[in-house]
Each structure stands twice: as C-alpha cells, then as structure tokens.
Symmetry: C2
Subunit: 295 residues, 2 copies
C-alpha cells in the first residue's frame, strides 16, 4: 500500500499518466455557475465527473483556494472529500510547496495530510532534510520534492553550479593548486545535487517523488539518469508550453511509466461556456492519447 | 510610507528590535483558556495586550493555524484584525514562506496581503525572480526573503558552494586550464548568492528584507557585509539556541538598527498557568533589554 503503489494501480486502470491540476481562476469559471453558492467546488466536480476515468490523479494547488480566504479553502476541502468518496483510488496531490524548519514543517504536514487528507503533497527542499522529514514520516503518503521547476526563474538558483557536498562544509577559495580535486570532479547544477540527495532519502523512506518541469527536457533527461526508478511530477505542458514528445523521450521510465504529467489551464478552460466539462473531457482524451503515443 | 519606514517608526517608539512569533501550540496553551470558543485568538490577544509596547512587530506563522484547519485560520484572521484595530502602527509579518511559479505566486501574495492583510510576509526564493515579483509589486508591503535559515538542515543546500552567476548558464566541467577565471573568483555558498540577488531586486523595489538565522553568527556577519543597509529578520533566539550578543555583534546595522529579532516559544510559554501573559511580559522585557545592551 501507500501512495506510489496506489498510483501504479491507477495508471494501469486508466491507462493514463495524465494529472489534472484543479486550479480555479474565478473569472474563467463559466458565468452560469458563478451565481451558485459553492461554485468553485461545483466547477471542480463537473470537471472531475467528466474526466475521472481518463487521469491517474488530480492536483489542486492550494494557492488558488487560499487567495479566496476561508470560503476558498472550504471549496478545496469539499473537492478533496468528493474525490475520496466518489472516486476512491484516484489519488489527490495537494500542490502546496511548503518549506519550513522541522517543528513548523510538522504543522504543514498535518495541514496537507490530516486537514485536507491529501494522498501526496509537493514540498520545497530549500530548508534541507529537517524540513522534509516530518512529511516522510507519513509512510503511506507521497512526498513530491521540487527539483527543477517549470518556470523561467527556475534558472536563477536551481541551475547554479555547485560543488560536490563533501567539499562544502569547509568553504575555501579554490586555487589552481587544488588541481587534483578539480580534475577529479565536475561542477553540477543545484537541481542535480537535490536529485541526488532526494534519492538517498528515498532509499530509507521509499515515498519520495521529484518535481521536474516539462519545459526543460534536457534537465529532465539528466535527472532521469540520476533517479532511474523514481516517479516524477511533470508540470508545464499545455499553457506553459512544455512539449509532450520531448518530455516523454527525456523522462519516461524503462517500464513506460514513472511520470505524472500535469495539465491545468488548457483542460479547465478549454471552453468558457456551458459545455466546458465536455470540452475538458475532449482535451483530456487528446492529452492522454498523445502521451500514450510516445510512451 | 510602506512597511520598512513604518517599521523604523515602530522600533523608535518601542525602543525595541524584538518581534514575538505568534505560533500557538495547542497543548501548551493554559488549561483555563482551552474551554473557550476562540481560545487561540484569546491566547494571542492576552499575549499582545501584555507585550505590545515592548516589541516592534508580531509574526504569526500560518502553519500553526493551518494545521487546525479552517477553525485555526479564523483565529489567525481575528488575531491580525485585532492587531490592526487595537495597535495600529505595530506591523504584522505573516510567516508563510511560500514559493511557486509566477501565476501561482500572485495568488499567494493575495493570500498574505489581501486575505490576511499582513504588512509583510516571508517568501522562499528557490523558484527564482518570477516567484517573488508578484509580492514585490505590493510596494507598501515588506517581502522577507529566506537567505540562511536557523535550522540544522539549512546547511544541506543553502551552504553549497556555488559558482558566480555569470559562469552558470553554460555549465561545464571545470579544468585547471580555466586558471584565470578560477584565480579571479572564489566559490561562495548559495545563501551568499541569494543575498546578492536580493540586493539587486531591492535596488528596484525597495521593499525587500532577508531572513538570516540567529544560530549562525558567522553567516550573519558575511550577509551584513553584502547588504549593509537592509533589514534582516532573525529567527532562532530563545528555544532554538541563538546567542543574542553574537547576533547583534554580527548583524547590527551601523545605525544600531536593521534587525528584527524574533522569539516565540520562550515568550509564549514562559509560564503554563494563569499568569502566562505576565510571564510573557517579563520575558519580553528581558529579551528587549538584553538586545538593547548590545546594540
């Protein structure tokens, strides 16, 4: 049992690596729903009802609910509850990207897994192991750690060239005299180092996944090389412009699986009128089948 | 106007660099309050009433509220509302450490500044500039960017030795032939690079601050060297063990200001019985005065 084995079952059952990101943008929700009380939940429900047998999981991003305050968070609660009740076996990833010191991270892990009852959540590794450990201790839950994100700014820090960790504790200027150590090693980007670190955490906890953006197939390939057996969550196809063929070619696992490919806006807002749920279904089928063509 | 100038006024008025972290731990809240309906808010209110003229700001960490679900978040709302109404001029920092791609970061900025009406919030820089920019655009608000955190795991990634950014875009193995560039530069840790980057963002936006843990005075000194004029938020004194004398010696700005020194557990839970608010006041005076001794 646990998130990863449940996910494998869901992928087999739906024949789909696709995940729908449930990120409601209020002014894009069809006008005929806007007058209803729980219209965000209702929008999600209709999307879910229309696509549930075509995707391996759903991924609500909590930011899109939290920005509407407590009303928004109730819509999130209702959405996850609906998924668990109506479609058990369909995993729910809470996209929250939290990161804080250990005692605080324990509170955030409760938020994701106990308050919202997510099956997995995304986390930010910037604060190091003690910021991730409280999540890892929920053995049945998936912990999806940011490695190389899909946005432009990802390069600002995630691509910085980093020294191997055994040299790091005693940081000293490097001179040409340190010839042998320089020749023996290569400088690798930060995301590479994170992937290596998560791989080592995963050996012990077995519930880690990585986030790698679809917008960077080269980096995806490099990270697949480091972690040949792990699952990756791949945001960035659709509106963000990531290419499906390149993503699959660079990131697919040897068994034709190992990727959760997430689309949000291109599915949710495929059409703005009364037929939005049917339009979302058609777009979902298209994406799933395109992905399967290249698997 | 704006967060930083308001903060300067508050520091002058209270003669205090101290900030109280409002991080309610439910089983540490005195028993006689636990039966009340809004007991988290009530606990905060009594702490605030007892300490408001001794601190320059308050810093609720949203994790400690979110882990209690919607009930907890209502307590957070009430706490911030109370602060704004009863003690205008006392800044409220929402400690949230969010970090996401631009479109999502805009939702999180709304959460901090519009839903909870915080005067400033902490953010995680791992996703780069486009994850911070939506916050920076709120010109009157403070954007407090993680640089070197107070926890043990901070060293895992924040201390990694990094190449200067102009070399980074074309990552290649370094060989001894690249002698001149190696001699000309030194490898610096990631947090150093982040401080430099934030300094450049702050030139344009003028509303950035940095988080630097009190548990690392050496790093604090180095970062003060990079950013001589910026405000730093310093968590980690008290329960986490940071030393006040070393923190001030390493981090104080030339004008005797430039630091927000945050304590939470050591103040909130100074006593567990009915006199908790008075005990918190005594501990707050002690901390404020100790800080002022070394300024």
């Amino acid at each position: 049992m646990g998130f990863i084995s449940d996910l494998e079952i869901s992928i087999a059952k739906t024949n789909s690596l696709l995940c729908i990101g449930l990120d409601p943008i209020l002014n894009k929700i069809p006008a005929h729903l806007q007058t209803k009380k729980d219209f965000i939940f209702l929008f999600n429900k209709l999307i879910i009802d229309s696509t549930h047998n075509l995707v391996c999981c759903y991924k609500p991003n909590i930011a899109f609910y939290a920005s509407e305050g407590i009303y928004g968070l109730r819509q999130l609660e209702k959405t996850i509850q609906y998924l668990h009740e109506e479609y058990p076996g369909t995993a729910v990833i809470l996209d929250a990207k939290r990161g804080d010191i250990g005692t605080t991270a324990a509170q955030y892990a409760r938020e994701a897994f106990e308050v919202y009852k997510a099956d997995a959540t995304t986390v930010n590794p910037f604060l190091g192991f003690d910021s991730i450990e409280p999540y890892l201790k929920y053995k049945d839950k998936g912990v999806i750690i940011l490695c190389r994100t899909s946005n432009r700014g990802a390069a600002d820090f995630q691509d910085l060239g980093v020294y191997p960790s055994n040299e790091v504790r005693s940081l000293k200027p490097v001179t040409v005299r340190q010839k042998s150590s320089l020749e023996a090693r290569t400088i690798k980007p930060l995301y590479y180092h994170i992937a290596k670190q998560v791989l080592s955490w995963n050996k012990r906890y077995k519930n880690c996944l990585l986030v790698v953006g679809a917008t960077w197939p080269e980096q995806l390939k490099e990270i697949r090389g480091i972690a040949p057996d792990m699952f990756f969550l791949i945001p960035g196809i659709g509106t963000q412009g990531g290419d499906i063929e390149a993503t699959i070619a660079s990131g697919i696992r040897k068994d034709g699986s190992g990727l959760i490919i997430s689309a949000s806006r291109s599915v949710l807002y495929a059409e703005s009128g009364k037929n939005f749920a049917e339009a979302a279904r058609i777009e979902t089928i298209k994406l799933r089948d395109t992905i399967n063509t290249y698997r």
